[in-house]
């Protein structure tokens, strides 16, 4: 092996690098670099033309400087020049520089594309690979436009070299990710899938990434890959390791390829074909068996590679969730790993078992490992492993072991790392609520939580305990007694004061009979904490005091005195001052009856999904909470507009409310707080019920209808674009049904989070209803540069004039973005063209002669009056353009039938251009007045 080739030794570069390495300080390094940059700049600017070698040397230096983390703002042109060199080394440095430094918006792309085109046509495999790598690395829109047609051809051509195929596969994947609309796989699909059968393992390795991505997007078109993948996998798994020569890694045949094959299979349900399925099950069993065999090598690389495949196979088994035998075997295997001496394996086993716990077939088997997992939580030295153990305990928890697990988690909390405390608190709170049989245990658990980790107990947690206590009268007395005892502690957490204050304010009377907790004792206890608390807590306590006046008239004088003192009624905090003044006045003005009514015990809270659960979901993303906890979510998905999983309108309400100042901890506003402050759209089934009567609420942001009119005569295009987001539309209509694809493109390099879209049909669209729009839910995250697709199914029930609204919300950087667009669904989309002769046409025209059946408009031309342009527009409208019907050849007439579910409406159109006056007269006649009118409005803007 050549050590380091001296042949192309760029001495200047080596010296420069040595200099940098010898720099003693960052400042010295920067100084040396700046000197070099100045030198290079002068060389590039100089009069003397540089030869290829010098160009290469300087570009290479720039590259090196960039790789050290310094920005480079010149040299791009010189790098592009290197691309056209015939010397491989020069070309290669040029491409490397461009791959690393040129971003996709560069103005140089055209020049680069030219060089790439030449190299792709060169039939020199090394040049082709360089060019393909470059496309794969830069992957800009312009590149997709230039090469998306060419690359599939290179990929499947019989005479393409294997290495070129590999590069082409990943290159195509990149283009597909950046510009899916430009990569049309149609005719290539089957040949690409058959790359799984390619003799060359490297080609399969590369192609499988492409196929996996394409399968995720178009599972049906690619489903033949399942049987091919199974047979490929089977050949690898069953082969003796020597068969695969260079693709064997420490005696494991093709480990990475095996993992990728198993991953591809996870895009699909279990194979339906019995033979394929049998073969696959056999493979999976073989993989499980191999885990039990003695290792072929003592090297850790051997067992790691083997286990990589094993874990991927287990993922597939869990994904299928249909083979009890395999699931239990997987669980046993993981159980062995739980005690393995390799930390990595213990970590992965805990992680993998977490998903196994949610399968009904293996839940029990997972539970048998509870002691090992608890032990891991206590003794693992690595926090990330302990975290996995805690996750697994959470996942395996059910009624039978809840008390044990909650107790273990609580005791772990006392010493837990700060980084995971908040999550642990949420989990304990959820388990305690979910598996509570007797609610005194629940109350104890939550109060313990506050005691142990008060700082990490979020509002949701203490709101929730109060909701539950209020809703269950069997636990109220116990709760009052327990909080009273907890408050005795000399130092207790402010959250404890909040819960205590609230609960005693409601149910203090239940323990007031005991002289040790008489009303005054309760009051003095609470008031002793008052001055140490923050403003919101003090505000809550003031409300407790006024409630005390109602519950215990004997405390009235004491409390009034407290309210009257300067530190209350003259408090500099407006909220506290107002409460003190109002409560004081209320207590002295109102009669006992009025007081009793105003300060009545809180009514029960409506049952709703635990806000804590919502918070955990938000924290961990949707997959993290085991599915049986998600019941509330399923119920919550209202069918208002068929919004699918998310109830569309609550998101609007919840979010608009969320922007009001956060409710201070107030007895009265507390009631609403948990549902508003914490509600992701899916939680508020209550709000759905309330608003379903009146129809959807109007989104708050301004409706943007700029793009709307551009789509009257076309179905595809860009609906909206700003600096962050581009929204493209592709739509297709047949009879009264339509399918619309929305493409949300993130134009930035930063991900959008909490990305939600809501389609709302307002007014008559919803009330009649005229239109039914079903939207598939979208991922909440749009990666930088990525595109998200959403499908809408549209059904036209009767004729309509309004357009549905699309509301988009997401967070970009720290800022909430909110956008509402008019969706271009117009009545003409449901046209069925009708061909007819002149006689027919005029006969029908006359039949539709009632004044209300006609709508007419005379308007000035806004666009070109060229007859070809007009024709194209009218064809786009969806009606049949009738030739030789109108006696005046300048005029256009059209006929069509609007298809709705309720009825069909014939419609005739006549457009009379007057080129001299630059005017049009547009006449529409239809059996329904609203249709003529609406079409006339829409079309008057088109010409």
């Amino acid at each position: 092996m050549p050590a380091v080739s001296k042949g192309d030794g760029m001495r200047g570069l080596a010296v420069f690098i040595s200099d940098i390495r010898n720099c003693k300080s960052k400042e010295a390094e920067i100084k040396r670099i700046n000197k070099e940059l100045a030198n290079i700049r002068s060389k590039f600017k100089g009069d003397k033309a540089l030869d290829g070698y010098s160009k290469k040397k300087y570009v290479c230096k720039l590259l090196f400087i960039f790789l050290l983390g310094h920005d480079i703002d010149f040299g791009h042109m010189e790098a592009v020049n290197l691309l056209s060199s015939n010397k491989y080394t020069e070309k290669q440095i040029g491409y490397l520089f461009i791959s690393v430094l040129v971003n996709s918006n560069s103005e140089l792309i055209r020049l680069i594309n030219n060089a790439i085109k030449n190299d792709l046509a060169s039939r020199n495999p090394t040049f082709m690979c360089l060019a393909l790598h470059c496309i794969a690395n830069v992957g800009s829109r312009e590149m997709a436009e230039a090469f998306a047609g060419e690359i599939p051809r290179i990929l499947v051509a019989g005479d393409t070299m294997d290495s070129v195929k590999q590069s082409a596969a990943l290159c195509l994947l990149r283009l597909y990710k950046t510009s899916p609309d430009l990569v049309l796989m149609g005719e290539w699909t089957s040949r690409v899938v058959h790359l799984l059968n390619d003799q060359h393992m490297g080609v399969v390795t590369a192609a499988i990434s492409l196929i996996t991505c394409l399968s995720q997007k178009n599972p049906d078109e690619f489903k033949t890959c399942v049987s091919l993948a199974v047979s490929r996998l089977s050949r690898i798994v069953s082969s003796a390791s020597t068969d695969l020569q260079d693709y064997t890694y420490y005696f494991v045949p093709a480990p990475w390829l095996s993992c990728k094959l198993l991953r591809l299979l996870q895009c699909y349900p279990p194979p339906e074909d019995g033979a394929v399925k049998g073969r696959l099950v056999e493979c999976l069993e073989t993989i499980l068996n191999k885990a039990q065999e003695p290792p072929k090598s003592k090297k850790v690389q051997h067992s790691n590679a083997k286990n990589a495949i094993l874990f991927e196979a287990i993922s597939l088994i869990i994904h299928y969730d249909s083979e009890p035998n395999l699931l239990v075997r997987a669980c046993n295997q993981l159980g062995q790993f739980l005690q393995h001496r390799e930390t990595n394996l213990r970590y992965l086993a805990l992680e993998s078992m977490c998903t196994l716990a949610s399968s009904e077939f293996s839940h029990e088997a997972v539970k048998t490992h509870i002691e090992t997992v608890i032990n891991a939580l206590k003794t693992e030295r690595d926090v990330s492993v302990r975290q996995r153990a805690a996750d697994l305990l959470y996942a395996m928890c059910d009624r039978s072991n809840a008390k044990q697990i909650v107790a273990e988690m609580l005791s772990y909390l006392e010493t837990a790392d700060y980084s995971i405390r908040e999550e642990m608190v949420l989990k304990v709170a959820i388990l305690a609520e979910k598996y509570a049989v007797d609610y005194s245990w629940y109350v104890d658990t939550i109060l313990n939580l506050i005691r142990i980790a008060g700082d990490y107990v979020s509002e949701e947690v203490w709101y929730r305990v109060i909701q539950i206590v209020i809703n269950r009268d069997d636990v109220q007395g116990y709760a009052a007694k327990t909080v009273f005892e907890a408050l005795q502690a000399p130092a207790c957490h402010e959250n404890m004061v909040k819960v205590g204050g609230y609960i005693l304010g409601e149910f203090g009377n239940l323990i007031a009979g005991d002289p040790r907790s008489s009303p005054l004792v309760q009051f003095n206890l609470l008031h002793s904490k008052f001055h140490l608390c923050s403003v919101p807590t003090r505000a809550l306590l003031l409300s407790t005091y006024i409630k005390f006046i109602n519950l215990f008239p004997e405390t009235k004088a004491t409390i009034q005195e407290v309210l009257r003192c300067d530190s209350q009624i003259r408090n500099s905090d407006v909220e506290l001052q107002q409460r003190a003044v109002e409560y004081l006045k209320l207590s002295s003005v109102a009669s006992t009856d009025v007081l009793a009514t105003v300060l009545e015990e809180m009514p029960p809270f409506p049952e709703r999904e635990s806000s804590i659960l919502a918070k955990l979901k938000k924290k961990k993303g949707p997959g993290a909470v085991s599915t049986d906890l998600d019941e509330g979510k399923r119920e919550g998905g209202g069918d208002l507009n068929g919004g699918g999983e998310r109830a569309p309108d609550t998101s609007v309400i919840a979010a608009s409310n969320a922007s009001t100042p956060s409710p201070s901890a107030d007895l009265l506003s507390l009631r609403a707080a948990p549902s508003i402050g914490s509600a992701p759209p899916s939680t508020g089934s209550l709000l759905v019920d309330v608003f379903s009567e009146v129809g959807p609420a109007v989104p708050t942001s301004r409706v943007n209808d700029d793009g709307f009119l551009r789509f009257v005569c076309k179905n595809n295009g860009v609906l909206f674009e700003n600096q962050l987001l581009q929204i493209g539309i592709k739509s297709e209509y047949r009879q009264n049904l339509g399918e619309m694809y929305l493409f949300y493109g993130n134009k930035t390099s930063v991900q959008f989070v909490n990305f939600t879209t809501t389609i709302s049909c307002l007014g008559d669209l919803h009330a009649m209803p005229q239109l039914n729009v079903q939207a598939k839910p979208v991922d909440p995250i749009v990666e930088g540069g990525a595109q998200l697709q959403q499908v809408l199914n549209i059904e036209c029930l009767s004729d309509f004039s309004d357009a549905p609204l699309l509301n988009i919300r997401f967070r970009y950087g720290g800022a909430q973005q909110n956008l509402t667009l008019k969706l271009p669904v117009t009545i003409n989309k449901f046209f069925q063209p009708t061909e007819m002769g002149s006689q027919d046409f005029f006969q029908r025209w006359k039949q539709l002669s009632l004044p209300q059946q006609e709508a007419q408009k005379i308007f000035k031309a806004n666009h070109s009056m060229d007859s070809e342009v007009l024709k194209a527009k009218l064809l786009g409208l969806g009606m049949a353009l009738l030739e030789n019907v109108d006696p005046n050849p300048e005029n256009f007439v059209c006929a069509g039938v609007v298809q709705t579910k309720a009825q069909q409406m014939g419609c005739l159109l006549r457009l009379e251009p007057n080129a001299q006056a630059q005017m049009y007269r547009l006449t529409l006649r239809s059996s329904k007045d609203t249709v003529s009118k609406r079409l006339c409005e829409l079309l008057a803007e088109q010409f």
């Binding site: 092996m1 050590a3 080739s5 983390g69 490397l96 690393v100 971003n103 990434s209 990728k260 030295r381």
Partner: protein
């Protein structure tokens, strides 16, 4: 998929970085600082996988060199862990004394990486095939 790969020395200086998704230069620096701090501070007996923001980090230490790979949530950790080993073995095969030569031959390390990982996906794992273009390059340079 693989989101980025870093080669870092024991002092925590990045020797090589390769990103497979676009991240602004400014953010790269802060990401590298976090990642390097996170991995370097871990002890030998701790596991080689760390969660960091939306990434999973898989890292491996070779004497004074650390290799850290950021991967997406669904990536197979052990497969990536051994991919790093394979990468190092390829470097070892090409350069006689790996760690000194990397700095002088960053371009070649990039070529090697490009042959192994493209676009965040594994393209080739066979050592001789990974090195084939580089060896062709050296031959050309010598002649």
């Amino acid at each position: 998929m693989i989101k980025f790969l870093l080669m870092v020395n024991k002092q925590g200086q990045t020797r090589l970085s390769k990103y497979y998704e676009h991240i602004d230069l400014a953010k790269r620096t802060s990401l590298e600082v976090d990642v390097i701090k996170g991995c370097l501070s871990r002890k030998k007996e701790e596991c080689s996988f760390v969660e960091y923001k939306d990434y999973k980090l898989v890292y491996r230490q070779y004497a004074s060199l650390f290799i850290m790979v950021g991967v997406s949530e669904n990536e197979n950790e052990l497969a990536v862990y051994e991919l790093v080993q394979n990468f190092v073995e390829v470097l070892d095969k090409y350069f006689s004394r790996v760690f000194n030569q990397i700095m002088f031959n960053l371009d070649k390390v990039h070529i090697i990486l490009d042959e192994m990982i493209l676009n965040g996906h594994i393209v080739e794992t066979n050592k001789s095939r990974i090195l084939a273009p580089l060896i062709a390059l050296d031959k050309m340079a010598e002649s």
